[in-house]
């Protein structure tokens, strides 16, 4: 009986040691990232010094390690849309912000993206939107890509909507979009078609100016 007990305790001790070492490894690999100097960011973006300070304080509060990985990004974005599932759209957004595609959004990426969105010219904003829709970054928006994007936007609504969300609603939405944008009816939307079409649409132009005063 005693021998059994001794063997049992040895086993548990070994197992605990193994899990401890794994946890140690994870801790060591925590990333610490420091952004570029304030002056450099000021030069590269269109934000003033004070605005950058405010932005960084908020950013650092949420992500003390200095970078946002995709899961945190999804979590943060999901808090704004409690009724629906914002993870797919957040994924696309993350890819749009992560310009160097290294799997994490640093403060520079974040601030560059925001600079375009809030202080950029309409051309730049449309460019950014095109980049968002073009999931594989090949310069063309296909119907499948657009369908993914639109489905993710509808996902954010959740299921408790009026009118009830139907299966084919996103598809219809994609059809409308392509009819408007795809001038030469070749099944894809290029950047020029997109920008041309948006500049001719009053609604879109107006809504682009909507968030001027966000910061």
């Amino acid at each position: 009986m005693g021998a059994l007990m001794v063997i049992f305790s040895l086993q548990t001790k070994q197992r605990r040691k193994r899990t401890d070492s794994i946890e140690d490894e994870l801790e060591l690999s925590a990333v610490r990232h420091r952004p570029e100097a304030l002056e450099q960011l000021e030069a590269q973006t269109r934000f003033s010094r004070k605005e950058l300070q405010i932005l960084y304080r908020g950013f650092k509060n949420e992500c003390p390690s200095g970078v946002v990985n995709e899961d945190t990004f999804k979590e943060i974005y999901a808090q704004f849309f409690p009724q629906g599932d914002a993870s797919t759209y957040a994924h696309f957004l993350f890819n749009a912000f992560d310009t160097d595609h290294n799997g994490s959004v640093s403060f520079e990426d974040f601030v560059m993206g925001l600079s375009i969105l809030l202080r950029g010219s309409v051309q730049e904003k449309l460019n950014w939107a095109f980049n968002l829709y073009d999931i594989n970054k090949d310069g063309y928006i296909t119907k499948e890509e657009m369908l993914d994007i639109i489905k993710s936007i509808y996902d954010m609504m959740g299921k408790c909507t009026y009118p009830i969300l139907k299966e084919e609603t996103p598809r219809q939405h994609v059809e409308i979009f392509f009819q408007k944008m795809d001038k030469n009816r070749d099944g894809v939307v290029t950047i020029d078609e997109f920008i041309d079409c948006c500049q001719n649409d009053e609604n879109i132009m107006r809504s682009m100016q909507l968030f001027e005063n966000v910061i």
Binding site: M1, G2, M5, K50, L55, R57, G58, F59, N61, E62, I76, Q79, F80, F81, P82, Q83, L93, F110, G113, L114, L117, L118, K125, L126, W128, A129, L132, I149, I150, I153, Y154, M156, M157, C160, T161, Y162, P163, I164, L165, K166, E167, E168, T169, Q172, H173, E175, I176, Q179, F194, C198, N203, I204, R206, S207, M208, L210, F211, N213, V214, I215
Partner: protein, 649 residues
């Protein structure tokens, strides 16, 4: 909204630009932050200790004192700081809550002082983060129990208006209430002791009868003992009957452990009275007398410690079970081994494995009576292993039981697990409510205030020409919601516009869902054509279960119509937004919808009132204009208009 989330709201709003090219409807107006201040440091002077923080930090929680305009009441004009005459140590935790989003409960703080501070600053205790929540709850429970005990002690002197029955019950439960109760308490205690001693002395050999061996006293002084027994049992019976009479819930009292002990204690006497004549069962009757020893358990009413001991044993049932189980395992193993080891030796006492059980038990508990000893060498070796392991097996669960007892004793009875679960459920529910506040708040403000702002979108160009007027209306709205909230709602509103669907709460969604389900149900019947008619527009083709549009331009009118006819609204106002956004909708359906809206203003809950198409024949055709559909069979007109009417209510 949570702390960090407020900091990311500008980002979420900026990212909303990604929806704009996809949206088909114009976006609502963004809330203006006219009174936006540059972020500044504010000083909070709490009883002389100055805390400084950004204003934005405090604005994260607008429903607390520091986050709302309530703090202006504490603003000191001369020193330009906010002065609070409260405890600065506790304030540290509270301010950290704003900074980090987590509320911690410091262990050295008194629980009631902490509660008071939380209440003052408008923070609900359920927000305390998980790391400190257990501790907080334990301390809170201890405190309330202590308060209740104090209250009961104080209460005893008051309450003159109790019935005789209630007084009696309280006297029984708590003997310190009155002198009578105390007397009764001591008298019953004395008689319990007397009865137990009598039972014991009864069996002592008590001198010699002339020509017989030792007789126990009970047989020598039969009458005396019988009288004593009778007296005790009479007292116990009277006591039991009185308790039964006074108990607030007799059924519950009869089921309780103490009353069962009482009954078992006095029953043998009565059974003995009844069965004195019958010789056959007197043997059984004698064994019944052993139950008289249960009278000793009646002492547990008199001793708190005994009760706690019993409670501990009950709560340590799992540890005791483990002890028993491991002992049984060991006994069986060693008994088997000893039996086979001693099989060889002659005149061995180990005749069978069950016979070896006795040896194993005696050896493992280190009793060692010596009535059974192994004689072979193998037997001796295994016997020594047995005694060594016995010590270990018994020594292991005992500290667990001991620590359990001390924990329970010091914590004065831990609350039931069921109660804790209920508390946890309540806590989660409250947190969910405050979290879901954001989504319900949006729906709320939609129904109440935002209808106004939506009308602003209609003449959007008009707004551009006269910015002044719209800003005033904007201001009116902003009175009730904070800037953060209104920006968040604006974001959600943009999403609605992008997708051309609205957020609704669960109830409405379920009604709408049931409605569409009901709608789809009759589509199987011959009145399939009714589906066509209900859509209102000319669909010459036979629709499928969920109505497919014929061409894209009619998409919105189709879905709009179907939804208008099938879903239920509670408020008229909710119907309006879809009607006013006329960019691509079929005007006819709009008109009919809005007309119906204005005509009636009742609230309906009626899934019941939805007529199934065949039964509509009897209904008179209402005056509201139905969507033009000359091909539709006549039975449809009432149904469609009826349904329209319901949806407009």
């Amino acid at each position: 909204m949570a702390a960090g989330v407020a900091a990311w709201l500008p980002f979420a709003r900026a990212a909303a630009i990604g929806w704009m090219p996809v949206a088909n409807l114009p976006m609502p107006v963004a809330p203006s932050n006219k009174n936006k201040r540059q972020d500044e440091l504010i000083i909070l002077n709490v009883s002389g200790r100055r805390f400084q923080t950004w204003r934005n930090t405090l604005d994260r929680y607008p429903d607390t004192l520091l986050g709302s305009s309530e703090k202006e009441f504490f603003f000191n004009e001369e020193t330009r700081e906010y002065f609070f005459d409260r405890d600065p140590d506790v304030f540290r935790s509270i301010l950290n809550f704003y900074r980090t989003g987590k509320l911690h409960y410091p262990r050295y703080e008194c629980i009631s002082a902490y509660d008071e501070e939380l209440a003052f600053f408008g923070i609900i205790p359920e927000i305390i983060s998980d790391c400190c929540y257990e501790e907080y709850k334990d301390r809170k429970r201890e405190n309330t129990e202590r308060l209740m005990d104090d209250l009961e002690d104080n209460k005893d002197s008051k309450l003159p208006n109790m019935t005789f029955r209630e007084t009696m019950w309280r006297a029984f439960e708590n003997p310190h209430t009155s002198t009578m109760a105390l007397v009764f308490y001591y008298v019953t205690g004395f008689f319990i002791a007397l009865s137990v001693i009598t039972n014991v002395v009864e069996t002592v050999p008590c001198g010699y009868m002339p020509n017989q061996r030792d007789v126990p006293c009970g047989e020598r002084y039969t009458e005396a003992f019988f009288c004593m027994d009778t007296a005790c049992v009479m007292i116990f019976t009277v006591e039991y009957l009185m308790r039964l009479f006074a108990a607030p819930s007799r059924y519950r009292f009869m089921r309780s452990v103490m009353s069962i002990i009482d009954v078992v204690a006095i029953l043998p006497y009565y059974i003995g009275l009844v069965m004195t004549n019958n010789e056959d069962v007197s043997g059984a009757f004698v064994t019944l007398r052993v139950f008289r020893v249960f009278r000793i358990f009646k002492f547990s009413r008199h001793s708190q410690g005994l009760r706690i001991l019993g409670y501990t044993l009950k709560s340590c049932a799992s540890e005791l079970g483990f002890l028993l189980f491991s002992l049984t395992m060991a006994i069986i193993i060693f008994a088997t081994v000893m039996f086979y080891a001693e099989k060889g030796s002659s005149s061995s006492k180990f005749t069978s494995i069950p016979a070896s059980f006795w040896y194993t038990i005696v050896t493992m508990t280190t009793l060692g009576y010596g009535d059974m000893v192994p004689k072979t060498i193998a037997g001796k070796i295994f016997g020594s292993i047995c005694s060594l392991s016995g010590v270990l097996v018994i020594a292991l669960p005992v500290p667990v039981i001991v620590s359990n007892f001390s924990r329970i004793y010091h914590q004065n009875q831990r609350a039931d697990k069921r109660k804790a679960q209920k508390v946890q459920k309540a806590r989660l529910a409250r947190m969910r409510i405050s979290k879901s506040g954001s989504s319900t708040a949006f729906l709320h403000s939609k129904r109440n205030g935002l209808n106004q702002s939506l009308e602003l979108t209609l003449p959007y160009y008009k707004m551009k020409l006269s910015p002044q007027g719209s800003l005033e209306e904007d201001q009116q709205l902003k009175k009730t919601t904070s800037l953060l909230e209104s920006q968040h709602h604006h974001l959600l509103h943009c999403l609605e516009k992008t997708t051309n669907h609205e957020f609704v709460d669960e109830r409405l969604y379920e009604q709408g869902y049931l409605q569409t389900a009901l709608q789809n149900f009759p589509s199987q019947s011959p009145s399939l054509s009714s589906e066509e008619g209900i859509t209102g527009t000319c669909c010459s083709r036979r629709p499928k279960k969920n109505i497919q549009p014929l061409n894209a331009t009619h998409t919105h009118s189709h879905t709009h119509n179907l939804q208008e006819l099938s879903a239920l609204h509670i408020q008229c106002g909710e119907q309006q937004p879809l009607n006013t956004s006329r960019s691509s909708l079929n005007l006819m359906s709009d008109e009919s919808g809005s007309l119906n809206c204005k005509s009636s203003g009742l609230v309906t809950t009626a899934i019941i009132s939805i007529p199934t198409p065949p039964s509509n024949n009897s209904r008179a055709s209402p005056d509201a204009p139905s969507p033009p559909n000359p091909e539709a069979p006549p039975l449809l007109n009432p149904s469609s208009t009826d349904v329209v009417k319901i949806s407009a209510l």
